[in-house]
Amino acid sequence: MSTPILEVKGLKKYFDIRGGVFGKKVGDVKAVDDVSFTVNRGEILGLVGESGCGKSTTGKALLRLVEPTDGEVIFEDENILDLSKEQMRRLRKDMQIVFQDPYASLNPRHTVEKIISEPLITHGVESSKEQKERVKELLEVVGLEADHASRYPHQFSGGQRQRIGIARALANNPKLIVCDEPVSALDVSVQSQILNLMEELRDKYHLTYIFIAHDLSVVKHISDRVGVMYLGGLVELTTKDQLYESPKHPYTQALLSAVPVADPDYEVDRVILEGDVPSPSNPPSGCPFHTRCPMAMDVCKEVKPEFREIEDQHFVACHLYE
């Protein structure tokens, strides 16, 4: 739990808003605004937040699938934002992604064999015998059968497709996998199959995951440390136990209390937040959460709180802890 495999410093991604007759830039959406964290080798870092908080954009920016506007992403002592396209392509062998929608992320016209062997071809496994062997092996690793290789994606259920997506990500023995809502399209009974599989694979291949999800109980189950995002920024980041047992940021507290618990005896002190998440194209001044925060003070309206370590391994961006 010591050596970081990935260090993210001040990552920003702004999308331009264009308008008017000539498509001039009239503003920007600050989808990810100054996010910093580290990921240790072999750990699972969860990123949670509601829709529009920038968690998926963060995941994609780490792999440069969307080009970050600013910041540093240091993967194994190398700032990957400085790399050329070709170098980046080679590096993606070590950094992979599993997408949310297993229906949309597999090409319907390709057989499973073609889908899984494509990354192999790109990264230099040329003999077709070797490719076939590897595909067979990968399918077995993710709990499918070798003869599934000749089928097409539509012949599989949602859970099986997600297994194919995972097999594809594993093809070149990556070190880091960004999992972008990998189970949110699946039914509960299938979801637990996939979560267990992902944990097994982590142990077997010493993988590191960044696990992005909106479901707090899923993230709690799988992660070692968890970061909570709100409106483009991290508001809290700490170990799983710390976060779920003593959340510090008022947003984390509200978010946790809002989750319905499948236990009729469980009484929650629910903090019901007023209103909606503000638009990231026009974020509030000061702390982005002050418009909904039950504990907002005057300073929150003016000064954006710094994201800092208040206890060992516990980062919070809130004026209450200064």
Binding site: S189, S192, Q193, N196, K220, L255, P264, L273, D276
Partner: protein
């Protein structure tokens, strides 16, 4: 038995497709009492939405058709009610909210227009009065600036606000039954908490009976009095919330509850039910869950069990109750998945 407002008796809704007949709802029976909140739980393909659409007679025909059973609304069988009669009932006596607040409002009419239309369809009041009523309803569901929002279009509102508008619309005529089909699935948790809170108030203050269709056991445990668990078109278990969650009887319900990651419990590994949900089919004779069930024995594959009544309003569809042996403790079968 007088206070039962809605009762389904052996409902069968089938779809007739090119690939044959699909019994999406295959003999479903349960009831809803006055002021009660009943949850219908199941995974995709379990037939829970088709059940609720059948009650409202909103099944597209063709390909779907109610082929048997009764839907008794205060003693009147809706399964063979005329379309004219149904139009009187929908919205006025039974109303429904859907999962997608984005698609269930008409984008070319203002919020007010749509609310006023619904109110004036069922009640003879002037436009002005109806508009007042619409604004009042919007205020009731906690929409800020209701007198301005009433003239806005659906795209100007967020998802949570649109779902509030849908609730305002469905409550504007004081229906006796509200059917909510995954009302919060498309919403974020903090917004979900707002909407559930609102529905709970309606139930407590107006005494509206709610049929809540959902896949989320957390929502169920928070909202419902009783629960009906569906699997592959059939009811597999029924009981109070406490019974279902604390003491599930059917192997499917047991597995489902064990496979939930819990926010307040520490566990090493999640339980998982092997395989996937079977598609309903008319040809299959055995228990629908048999192929995924670790307790399955020969009989389960050849014959579909009845719903055994274990207690008052406590039912489970499993041969294990016939054998009069306790459904045994789970052994850890994670290695299998």
């Amino acid at each position: 038995m007088d206070n039962i407002v809605l009762e389904l008796k052996d409902l069968h809704t089938h779809f007739f497709t090119d690939n044959g007949e699909i019994p999406a709802v295959d003999g479903v029976s349960f009831d809803l009492k006055k002021g009660e909140v009943v949850g219908v739980v199941g995974e995709s393909g379990s037939g829970k939405s088709v059940t609720s659409l059948s009650v409202m007679q909103l099944i597209p025909n063709p390909p779907g058709k109610i082929v048997g059973g009764e839907i008794l609304f205060k003693g009147e069988n809706l399964a063979n009610a005329s379309e004219k009669r149904m139009r009187k009932i929908r919205g006025n006596e039974i109303s429904m909210i859907f999962q997608e607040p984005m698609t269930s409002l008409d984008p070319v009419f203002t919020i007010g227009n749509q609310l006023i239309e619904a109110i004036r369809f069922h009640q003879k009041i002037s436009k002005k009065q109806a508009r007042q009523r619409a604004i009042h309803m919007l205020e009731l569901v906690g929409i800020p600036r209701a007198d301005e929002i009433v003239d806005e279009y659906p795209h100007q509102l967020s998802g949570g606000m649109r779902q509030r508008v849908m609730i305002a619309m469905s409550m504007s005529l004081n229906p006796e039954v509200l059917i909510a089909d995954e009302p919060t699935t498309a919403l974020d948790v903090t917004i979900q908490a707002q909407i559930l809170d609102l529905m709970r108030n309606l139930n407590q203050e107006q005494g509206t009976s709610i049929l809540l269709i959902t896949h989320d056991l957390g929502v169920v445990s928070e909202m419902c009095d009783r629960v009906v668990v569906m699997y592959s078109g059939q009811v597999v278990e029924e009981g109070t919330v406490r019974e279902i969650i604390k003491d599930p009887q059917h192997p499917y319900t047991k597995g489902l509850i064990r496979s939930l990651p819990n926010l307040y419990k520490k566990e090493q590994k999640l339980y998982s039910i092997p395989g996937t949900v079977m598609k309903p089919s008319t040809e299959y004779v055995g228990c629908r869950f048999a192929s995924r069930c670790e307790f399955a024995f020969d009989r389960c594959f050849n014959e579909n069990p009845d719903l055994y009544e274990l207690n008052h309003q406590r039912k489970s569809r499993c041969f294990l109750h016939d054998e009069e042996k306790e459904v045994g403790e789970f052994v850890d079968t994670n290695t299998r998945s």
